[in-house]
Every structure is written in C-alpha cells, then in structure tokens.
Symmetry: D2
Subunit: 375 residues, 4 copies
C-alpha cells in the first residue's frame, strides 16, 4: 500500500522566501542535484517533493554522465539512458509546479575538474564522447563543445573541492583555454559540501561569469541539512522575466543571479541592491522633536545583518542589528554626543553596511539614504 502523499508544510523557518524585484520574479534554484540515476540515493520524484516543501522554484537534474552509468547498467541496477532522471523529474515537476532543468555533470580530473551543462537535450551524445578520451582536458573540451551544440550553459563546479584542490583553490591554464573558447559561462561559488569559495567569487567577477550555488546533494536532503536548527537550502537566486524554463535560461545568460548559502547572499551590486530594497522596506520615516523614527520590515525569510557605516557620525543609531525573517523593527535616530541626546540636524544620511549581502569577497553592500525633516 502507498503511504498518502506527504504534504505537511515544513516550518516556515526552513522555507525560502524572497520578494520579487522590479521587473523580475525572484526564483530560487538548486542548480546541482544528483539522483539514483548516478551516485545519489534519491529518486528524481523525491527531489521535486523536497524542493516543493522548501520553497525552491527550480531544480537542475545534474547526474554524472560518465562511466558510473555504464557500471550501474552492468550491475543490473537500471537499464535506461542518461536522460531518464530528467524525464521522471520533469513529469513530477509539472504536478508540483517546480521548474525542472535538463542537465548533466561531466566529471574529469583536475584540471579542469567537473562541469555542469544545463539546458541540454541529450546527455547520451555528451557522455559517449566523454568516455572516449583519456586526457582530462581534451575529454572535457570535447564534451563541452558537444553540449554547446545543444545550447548548453556551462558551469565550472566547486573549484574548491578539497579532493581536487587539496591545499588551495587554483585557476589553471586549462580554465583559461575553456573560458577563451566560450565554454565556461558560470562558476559554482557555493557548494553544499564545500561551502563558499572567495577565490571562485573573485574569478567570476573578473570574467563576468554568472554566480551559481547548489547543494550537490546525493542523500535525502534532510540528512544533509539540519532543518531542526533552522537551516535554509543553499541555492541560486534567479531574477527571471517569467517563471519558466526559458525565463531561467534567459536570466542565467544575462548574469542576473545571486547565491544564497549559510545566511549570506553573494551577488553583484546590480542584482543585490534591488533585492535588498525589496527585502528591507522602510515603511515609515517620522521626525519627532528630538529624534527620528524609521520603521523597517524584513520581507524575506533570511535575516538581514546591519552595521552602522561611515558617513553618519553626527547622528546616533545602533551600531549592530539583525533584522529577523518577517520582522518589523523601529530604529531611533538621535544625536551622537551622549545616550539619548536630542537630534541636532534636520538632514542626515542613514548609512548601513548590509553585512550578509556580499558584492565581492569581503565587501558588504553599502546602503545610504538621505533623510530630511519636512518643513
């Protein structure tokens, strides 16, 4: 007998929620996911059910397309082609309104390591070629070129994976070659197992590559994320014109992505600023006789971490404040000479670093707004 479909909602603390920004849907996507059809332990349908519960809009099925597949077939564990996991997931995705991307992972020794190819049409073509070569770089180049014929979007995965980068994270000449041929479109700067790589983040900035985050999950997700401790799934934020596969594709090519992991958001100023302004909304500004009152609301499920930034020395407000998910909080602005001093100016800047919105390694978003007492 079949257990009834499990559909209770995860506690809100484990669900992603971000507001849309002007002109774009804010979608969350896990761009790196394995299933039982390579070396994951999870059936493709469960990947969709998991995503649905966690507020994840997009799942890229990126099973390994290498020899592992052949070995599984040989062992009698399955007997189907390398597109089967996508097909199963895509069908179930329609039921649950989760967008499913057809992808695959090409795994080679370092350099150049592993690449995900997204929006492909047939992994078999890519994989056969992949098996044919012994030279790591050559094999990858051939595979990526075949994938590109299918109009793939190529991501260099986890440059900081300790198995391939045992002591430091390196960009090899081979990466330059792939990049220069237009075969590298993005870098995975956050990976569920390895965390964030500042090196990869910087390389992506320097070369205008899209920022990608994914879990690289192999087990049932609840064995990998500590939901009881309020963890949210690492993912890519995609600012899409429409909530479709094509919408996601267009956004990736246009570099309109950011990355969420461990409470931090990584992205260019162009994408993070509108996201921040849609997230932490100033709902009230009122000048009182001796102070100014500002009310903020955090409209996302991610805490916003604020510190006072330079440029506001003449006024006083708290130097550190975490605005919790969905929290409304009131900031009081006074004079800075002693505790509770009256506000002495009629116009000032409110300057804040958003410590968990990171525009480049070590660089938080600066938010600065001029407030003026009405006449």
């Amino acid at each position: 007998m079949l257990l009834f479909c499990a559909s209770f909602a995860l506690s809100a603390q484990n669900r992603h929620f971000f507001p849309d920004v002007e002109g774009y849907h804010t979608l969350t996507g896990d761009m790196h996911v394995h299933t039982r059809f390579s070396d994951g332990d999870v059936w493709p349908t469960s990947r969709i059910d998991e995503a649905y519960l966690e507020g994840i809009d997009v799942i890229c099925i990126t099973d390994h397309i290498d020899d592992r597949h052949k070995r599984m077939v040989k062992a009698g564990l399955f007997n189907c082609d390398r597109n089967e996991s996508y097909r199963i997931a895509a069908k179930h995705g329609k039921k649950k309104d989760v967008i499913v991307i057809h992808g695959g992972e090409v795994s080679r020794g370092m350099p150049p390591g592993h690449f995900n190819t997204l929006f492909v049409s047939d992994n078999e073509a890519i994989a056969v070629l992949n098996d044919a070569e012994k030279d790591h770089y050559k094999a990858m180049e051939v595979s990526l070129k075949e994938a590109r014929k299918q109009n793939s979007f190529n991501v260099w995965n986890h440059p900081h994976w300790s198995s391939q980068a045992p002591n430091e994270t390196k960009w090899f000449p081979e990466h330059t070659k792939l990049f220069e041929q237009g075969l590298m479109d993005a870098i995975e700067i956050y990976n569920g197992s390895e965390g964030y790589s500042p090196e990869a983040h910087q390389w992506a900035i320097d070369r205008n590559l899209a920022l990608i985050g994914g879990t690289d999950t192999h087990n049932p997700i609840a064995l990998e994320l500590n939901f009881n401790a309020g963890v949210l799934r690492p993912c890519t934020l995609i600012f899409a014109k429409e909530r479709t596969v094509e919408g996601v594709e267009e956004a990736l090519w246009a570099r309109r992505t950011a990355v969420y992991g461990d409470g931090m958001l990584y992205g260019s100023e162009e994408v993070l600023r509108p996201l921040f302004e849609a997230t932490l909304v100033m709902t009230k500004v009122q000048f009182h006789k001796k102070s100014c009152e500002v009310v903020f609301e955090n409209r996302s499920n991610v805490p916003v971490v604020l510190t006072k930034a330079p440029g506001s020395e003449e006024v006083h407000y708290k130097r550190f404040r975490i605005v919790h998910p969905q929290e409304k909080f009131t900031m009081w602005i006074n004079g800075s000479d002693y505790h509770g001093a009256p506000l002495k100016v009629d116009e000032f800047y409110l300057s804040l670093y958003v410590e968990n919105y990171i525009t480049a390694p070590g660089k938080p978003l600066l938010y600065k707004v001029k407030l003026t007492r009405p006449q």
Copy 2:
C-alpha cells in the same frame, strides 16, 4: 563529487530511546519499509541512514514482490531479483550497526489483503507463485506457505487500510482460514499512514498474535514525519535476548513486542509493566512530617502521561501530570481534605493510570505501589 557523509545528529527530540528491561534489550524496529526496488522513492542505503539518525535498531525491508517488479524491469528501471534491496541494505546496515531483516510484502485484494513475510531467504520463490494465481485468497495462501517453508514470520498488514476497508475494519472468514493453518503470526496494529486500529489490537489479543507497528514508508522519511514538531517514528519495540537478527526473530515468535505510535505505547501487561518500571524510575521516597515526597525520572524519550487512579482517595497528589522525556519530577503527597492539608496516614497506595501505555483497546496500564512511613 560526493557530498560528505551526512552525520549530524537529529535533535534528541526526534531520536528513540528506551531503557533495557530485566533480561532483555529494548530494541526499536520499523517492520514495514519500502525502497526504490518496489514503489518507494528511496534507495536502501538511505533507509539505513535514516534509521541510524532516529535511533531505530532494526529495519525490515519489505518491498512489494508482485508484478510491479516485473513492470519495473520491463521499463528498464532496474534488472535484478527481488532480494536486491535487502542485500544493499544489509551491507550498509553492518557499517551503521543497524539490524536488517530480509522480508517482502505480498499484496492481494481484500480478503485477505496484504501480508509481510519476515526472515525469508528468497523472495523470488514466493513471488513467482504469487503471480501464478488470480484468486486473492488462494494466491496469498500459496505464497505464505512457500514463505513458511523459508521459516517466515507472517504479519497481516494494516487491516484498517481505507482502500481495502472503506467503511469499517473487518476480520473475514479468509483470515480465520489463514490463522487456523498457522499462516498468520502477527497483526500490524499501527501503520504510518493509517494510524492505530483498535479492532486489530483486539484481534491480536484474542488470538495471541504478536503486535507489530511500522511506517510503511515510501518517501524519504523526513517528508512523512514532521520532525520539526518533535515527532518520533512509529515502530515496534522488541524485547530481545541479544541484539542480532536471531534475537529479533526469537522475540517475535515469543510475542515480546509492543508498538509505539503518536506518543502511545500498545502492548500486553507482561511487556508494558517491566518497560514502564524501567522507564519511570522512582529514585526517592521520603516521608516528611506533613507530607511524602516521591521523585520520579522518565528515562525514555517518550512522555509518560499519568492520572490519579482509584484506590488513593485518602491522600492528595496531582490528578494529571505529563513527565517529559528525561525529566525528573517531584510528586508531593498530602492529605486530601484541603489544599496543603497534612498527610494523615502512615501507609497508603500511590495509584496511577499510565494513560499512554495501553494494554488493550481503551485500557491504560494501572500502576499501584504501597508506600509506608519507616518506623
């Protein structure tokens, strides 16, 4: 790349823990589990990882052994025999110290419905025969007889499954026939999807069948149990002489089982009384001038729900108390005439119903102990 083995501990509130009882290990077992090798969505290894995290000692792999298997092979999803899921699980069970039982589920229309056969050696033999017959009862009889040749222990599953018992839970003449031939050894009185069946509980008592509980899980377990709300997995408690497959087998044949589900424990007085006494331990009894102080400790992870039972009218203590997991609490016993009245007797009974230890439908365990002031 492989995500590092997920091994964080679930919060203690989601882990089973029961103390051992005199002469026996108290084991927890999920006796009804599906994997990807029938219609579950989970690979056998994940079933072990899940059990390990939840403090489950025993997993019975009970994939359907019927035509579904053939259809999967035909569809190219796998190509292996009906024992493969057990083999994969058993191998991983050794690594994680989880006991794995070789089983299978024989699914027929009602009557007689579905049966699990545990401790088998070859599901293929049972399944082939199962496919050969069109008559529900006949086919089941043939399969159970074959399983019995393999020394199986047979469980009637979820008599209250609404798909086969749409309006009421019934015992059919066919069940009498199977029972009289010795082909039914136990009933599943708690099923993850259907909950508890008082009818099944009563039938098991009337015929001295073992009490069995299982999840019948098909999805990743965290999609079925609300861990965030502190839920513990439904299971069978097995009082085993040793922590081995053989120990479990001996205990089942000897009817030394109880069932946990939704905060309740179901079992005969013979098994629940020693479990209760090992669980809620009286660590101190002290007579004061005007009162008597008793300290209890709950040494399990399941709350103990106590109410005052008849037989203690001359003394006063709280009429209702939940003793939370691992909680130590002090009960004050006074006279019953007014709030805080002095204790007037030197000897009395402390009588308690344990409202969540159920020895028969509607009947809680009665705990009664005589306390006497030392001379």
Copy 3:
C-alpha cells in the same frame, strides 16, 4: 544598559492564527494570567510581549487580590494598589496592539473555590471585602456581588484543580447558589496546569455558561509551554464584532467563545461550525470520469483531524487524515468496492467527523456536504 527590544518572530508553529468568521473577528485571549503583583514571577509588560509574539490578541490580568498582596507590601516588595499590574499592562498593551482586560482572581477554599472577575474597575473594593470574611462561600458571594456592581463578568476557575478536587470534579450546592443569583457567567473548562475538564464542559453546556480557557501562567511562558515541540498557548477564542475591550466584553456576554487547548477546540456547534468552514476551505470540486477530486486548505495554524463519518458508505475516501497548518490537500473520492474502483454515483455525501472540534464531551463536529456531478 538596556538590551534592544526583543522582537524576533517566534517560529510560525508557535503563533496562533485563525481566520475571521462571517460578521466577527476571531480573537485569541488568555483569560487567566498572573504577574509579579501577586504570586507570578513576570512583570506585566512581559505578559504583553509574550502575547504579541504568540499571536494572542487579548490578555486578562487576573492577579490574586487576596492577603498575598498585603504580605508583599509588608515584605517591602512593592507598595501599590491591586490595580497596578493592570495599569502597567494596559499601557504597554497599547504599544503592542494587545487588548488588556482589567480583572482579578478571588481565591477561596472549595466550595466554591476560585473565581475570576473580568472587566472590573477597582480590585481594592473587591479585595477588602474579600479579606473581611472567614466563611469561604460567604466571602466569595460578597466579593462577586461587589464585582458585579462594577459590571464584572465572573468565571469559575479550574473546577478540576486537584488541590481542591483531589479525587473527582464536583459541582457543589454552593455553585448552584451563585449561579442562581447570576454571579457565575462562565466556567474555565481548560486550564494550563490542569488541562481539559469534561465535567466542567458539560456543566457549562447545561447552564448556558460561556466556555473559557486560560493558562493560569505564573512563570515566564516559555518555561511552561514547550515551544520547541511546536506547542501553541491554550486560550479562549472570542468572536467579536470589533477588536476592542468592548468587543470582547459583548462577545463574552453573548457566549460567542470557544476554547483551544492541546490541539483541540471546544465550543458549541453554533460557534465551531462557522469557524470550521472558514478554516478548512474547499477550494475545488471536480468530477472526473472515474473519481471526484476535492481540494481543501487549512487556513489556521491548528491541525484539522478528519475521519470518515457514517452516511458515505457507497463512496471511498481515506478514513483518517490530519490536515496540517496551512496545508492544501487533495482528497480523491472513488467507488468503495475495491482499491481504485471507479466512482459509481453522480451524487453523494462527503461525511466527516472533525475529531478535534468538540461540541460536547466526547462529541466531534459532523461535517456533511452533498456533492453532485454537473450535468
């Protein structure tokens, strides 16, 4: 220095939320709360902060007004009148948009026990009289009469308190006397320490008394409720024409209340039926060729527990289903002769017991709706 105002949101699982019903606001109120101004350990402002975090709309400050007060003044712990805790709470309530009711608890031996007097204007007048008498009943009568002069609404508290009802819950002749003089308007059928009393529930039904629930909290609430396990605060549901003190008062006199405790709702059919219909909303009914599909949404934060009720024998749907908070679920209705049988009728009743909406002791709400295939 002062710690910044604590304003993070409790996880949604610990916040009350009920939809409004036709013509009324659905308010939640804790009608029995102590502070440091009697024998509680919490300052009145914190009672408001707690309520705000938990989605509690109304707090009744019901400090003991008896000798305890005098003793505290003597001990130098405070020096103010018996209305001070209300004043402090009311002021803070305005800031946090929590409605605060001026009340007090008159505590006497049993019979008649303890009574809360709500909507009073001066506890001093009630208390002085209260101290003057030695006879339990007389003293209570005098106090309640004085309170009634202040237009109080009087609640008999926790008739099942084990300190005053050591072996059974009793209605004494003294309660009849108070009732017949119009000095008893409601009974507390759920109390945070004692839980639910079916006896009290029945008495309230028999005499048309309002149903009241409260925590009777003395400690910080997070020391009394296990928030980590997803517990919601026991409370009174008040169906008020407006969200004001006067609105609450009118609703209480009109008996438009229900009681929430431990996942159960207690109330008359008149109040529970509209609440249920606003809570579990049928958002879709579609007849397919061989089945009927019905979609329900639970719009509250309390699970809804459904079982199949008599009257629907000719169709099949699940016999048991918990609809979790904010969950949307699809019920499939088929024929009842075997698993997956085609629906054979074009019109039928969907009959459900709502097992946790209790209209009288042991009696769940029956929900029955006729569904007809469109021509």
Copy 4:
C-alpha cells in the same frame, strides 16, 4: 492556584554542555543579568529557572544600583534595599543547584561608562556614594574603590555599546587611570545586545584582563534568544577548581575564563587548547594500506569548525568540516595528488585551524598533531 513547576527539558540543542578539563570544572556563567529590581522585567527566581533549563551553572545578579532604584521606591513599586534581588536569587539557586554571585552594575556616562562589580557584600554602600557625585569619572572611581573594599572583581561592561560609543569603540585616558589603580580586572568582550568587540578583546589581551561574556538580559530570556533556531546563551566559561562561589572567584582572579557567543569561543591559547582537546577527542587512529583513518568525537554542544591549515600539503583530507554537537566523524587521509590517491608517507602532520576557537582578534586556534604509522 499555582501552575505546577515547569520542568520540561529544553531541547538539547539549547542547553550548554562542555567537558571538564584536566584539573578544572568547566562552568558556564552569565555574568550580566538584570531583574525586576532594577530595569529588568523578570523576577530573580525566574533567572535561576532559566539558567537551570539552559545548563548555565553560574548567574551574577548585576542590577543597576543607581537612582533608578530610588525612583522605583518612590513610585511604590518596591521598598527594599539594593541587595534584595541577590538574596531572592541566591535562595532559589540553592534549590536548583545554580551558583549565584552577588553583584551590581555602576552606570555612568562615557567615559568611563558602565562597570559590574562582582562578589560584593553590600550594594547600598556602593550606591550611596555613587549617587553623591556629578562627575562621571569621579563617581565611578569612588564607587569602584568602595566595591574594592568589599573585595569586588570589577568588569568594564560593553565598551562597544552604541549608545556610549556611537561611531567607534574607544579606550579613554580615564580607563587607563582606573586600570592603573587596579580598579579594572576584566572586560566584557561579548554582550548579548552588542555582540563581540574585537577592540575590547585586544585590550584585554594587552593588559592581562579577564575575558567576560554576558547577556545583559532585561526581558524573559526566551524573548531575547531564538531558541527555536537552536541558539545557545552567550556566557563566560569558567575553569574552576571547585563548583562553588569561591571556585568561580578564584578562577576569575586567575584569568581562567573564555567567552562563548554566537557559536564562537574566545580565549587565550592557555585556556582554549585544553578545552579543545577535551572537546574534540581523537578516539581512533588507524593506518590502512592506502590511507589513514582518524575518528573524532565532539563532546560539547557547540559545533567545531575545522579547516586544513598549512603544514600538511603532502597529504589530503577535507579542507572544511563542521563537527556537529555530539557528532562522531571519520576523517580519511590520503595522498594529495588526485582524488583517492594512496597515502605515500608513513608520518605526517594533521594541521587544522579551529575556526571558531579564537585566541586573539582574527586568530583561530591551530591544532597540529603528528601521526606515525606503527612499525
């Protein structure tokens, strides 16, 4: 009526636990706590109940001793001396086995700001003098000298409090004067409202002052800490020869403290190294043919965050790993040339940074151990 004593255990994820170290008890203490007897909202007994539930061994009652007290007395809110909150807490502490320290907070404008005086005998003497002076520095000096006559241990509180340090955290000449007179023994480098101050941490190191952490809690603690998200209370770790007030006092004077806040531990190498070695225990080292297996157990309730440190380039192991509370994990060490390469050396260093054990601002503890293959 009194609600039964709330004694359920908080989920283990919210309880502190650290192993003892060679020769010392590892105690946790909240060294900065307010109650209703200054501007807190909580009765002293609740401070003890909270500590008990959270595994906090030591509570310092540090109510403000300034004019606020006088104003409260005037307002009739209480009428007792400035030692009353300590007395109430100390009495209740005995019942719950929580150590209570008699302290007070002297609050002045900056410089020099606020100081806690611990282990005092009479706050009245300190306070009266405190009220007598208008000059911030002078008043503080006089108070601290009086406190010192009572053998107090003096802590400079929250140098980074934004109300007194609106734009940067500064050490003033006045602090030098107090320090040089021996009137400053410690600095609060972590404060519940302000978080961690690297500046204060560095000053404490430079002048051999004890490191102190405290919550500065004014509200019920569950309104300030997000227990649902698994937060642990910020505190001071005290390595004491005995679990008594005297033991705590001796440890503070000897500078045997560390500070816990937000998942980080701050302390000198002398105290953090033995704590780390008692916490992350290497329970197994086994050389296999092609690899070396090391098993670690985290014996605390705080995650341990490890990264690979320089000095182990010739071998490969994961570059990043969080060891969760009570987790046992196996580290595999291989050769570093490619994924899964055989170990090529018979002796090597395992070098790890413990990223959340901080010995100086920005400086994690380095853990380095030589492993040698047995002959």
